[in-house]
Subunit: 193 residues, 4 copies
DNA sequence: AATGAATGAGTTTTCATTCAT
DNA sequence: TATGAATGAAAACTCATTCAT
């Protein structure tokens, strides 16, 4: 399996760095190859085309978000606490990788519609996990049973996303992690029973 | 002033249509010119370059949003009601112009970072008005005085934006207007005192 | 009509020269543009893509062969004489344009199958005219009524083609025109009644 | 001698199949290696480069044509009959190997000029044998002593070649072998004393 | 002898912008 | 003002060949 070979990850990581430092449209395949320390042609031994690299970046990185949330879902804690841990995890992963934050919040969004639809497919799994937390919260009586799951999900994700994007656009100059409790409190107030 | 001449608006409107129907990357200057019914070169009598067209699209269209909210702010109604009217106005303007909705929610986001920074400048005026409503709500004791204005603004705008984007991505197949009250209720619950 | 504009012919002629002097695979679009004295992009105002240039070369040049033979067909002379004039015309047109001879006999044959099928379509019209001469000869009792038109056509065209290709491969160092009468005599002997 | 080792022939045969099935430009070295059941690198233990494979294909296959004609030349039969057997042999060898027919008549012709000059060198031996038959026919008084050997050879080979190419281009859907007598008759009529 | 992962040179085409009319 | 023909820079991808194992 190509995805398990070291060069695969090497190229994915190089793509994140190249895109973050040069911008989406200036991250030519040759630049990614250079950062990865391989020849241009080597890229195509591991990826079908440039789009495939970009989707892989998203899939590989988003995979960590998903895995973490799956673990959180298993914990014997309230939905309220799970929501907190999810927000904290989301902030934390992007806070600790400034390149990745730039890529997901700014650069990858200027990809073409086709690519973004594919990225959205990957994102869906994550949003489904969020839905699980919301449903659990409602079932447990923690969240208002009247709320529309879809709207609530959009509020939660929209708020998280907008918060991080603002932070990135402000050159990550304040401490994102400190915002987690307040974001959680705000969202919770809107949803709790 | 060029902006007042008929061809200026004609080109701006053509750009919205051309982008919505062909996609951001397929909306070449020559295509915009064709839709506008002018020669390619004429575009450059009214706009410095292609980016200038796109910013103008955003500025002109966002101008309506801003004007409407300014009127709302003047009204002698509670901050809670102003917030509702703002959400309703935002939904309404995009609901009634499907081309514009596609352009703002999907297409213009794949523009490069530079252009998006400029778009954000335009957006700032709108967000400042939102801040006014939030401050007023706090001062009037309608909203929780503990909330962080910036976060609250990100929650409100993030939720609105995410809701509309989902609607557009689902091909505008459900009634966006009907969501306004619930979005308002959710956001309000999160902020009210 | 683009084909009537001077630059169209200018580019077609440049393609013949560029291919003859550099070889099929070394005749890049930029080289053709340079020879034509236009910018690379200008090529694409007149031709859909590179293949379109090559087909056009063949179509334009073959057009002269066809036109001449059409005139020959109108003449009030025997089929035998028409065949002679056709051979003579064929030899003459390539003898007087050494670049074209190289292109049709050597270079264009290394194009891909798809392009060659298209070239063959163009060639068909020419071969149909040859068939007319053969049929007329048979009807007039000049040629053996037993001959298979298709085979005879293949013999005539195959012989002409092989003769010219040999001449080109020998760097056009002997006088092709002098071979016409003997080629005619040989072919005729094979076909006459 | 490498040419005698089994893998040499294995690769040459694989090349014929790979080219016939994929086309000249789509028959990459790696594809030939795959068909031959060897690693890419192994190819280079037996051939200098890709061109060397292609020339070898032509040389090996043409070798059979030449050997057969040499045997025919030894026979105690008239030049007229020798010519018939040569045509029959030529048709027969290509009729019985559809892959080879496609390769020699269509695919190998799109090789570059350099390669085709080398292929012509190999072809020369074959054409020299044809010349022997023609000379013999003239000396024996069977063929017209006035004919130009070179032209006659071009007529014979051009006709044979054109006939086979037409057959291949028509997807070998009619019986090529049946054409031999008529082709022979036509050519003979043109040359006989 | 055999392998196959890695290399890196090379070309068509698009499209924002200009400028002579 | 308005036109539109002409410009030319820029980038993804393929594949013959090598060489460490």
């Amino acid at each position: 399996m190509k995805r398990d070979k070291p060069k695969y990850k090497q190229i994915v990581d190089a793509a994140v760095v190249a895109i973050a430092e040069n911008g989406y449209h200036q991250a030519q395949v040759s630049k990614i190859a250079k950062v990865a320390g391989v020849a241009d042609g080597t890229i195509y031994l591991y990826f079908k085309n440039k789009e495939d690299i970009l989707i892989s970046v998203f899939r590989e990185k988003m995979g960590v978000f998903v895995e973490n949330v799956k673990v959180i879902l298993q914990k014997e804690i309230s939905a309220t606490e799970k929501l907190y841990k999810m927000i904290d995890n989301h902030f934390s992963l992007l806070h600790s990788d400034r390149h990745l934050a730039i890529v997901t919040q700014l650069e990858l969004r200027q990809s073409n519609k086709e690519l973004r639809y594919k990225i959205n497919e990957v994102l869906k799994e994550y949003l489904t996990l969020l839905d699980s937390i919301l449903k659990e919260g409602i079932e447990q009586g923690e969240f208002d049973e009247e709320i529309d799951i879809r709207l609530a999900r959009q509020m939660v994700f929209g708020t998280i996303d907008e918060t991080i994007t603002s932070w990135v656009m402000n050159d990550q100059k304040y401490d994102l992690m400190k915002l987690a409790p307040e974001v959680h409190r705000l969202l919770l107030k809107g949803m709790k029973a």
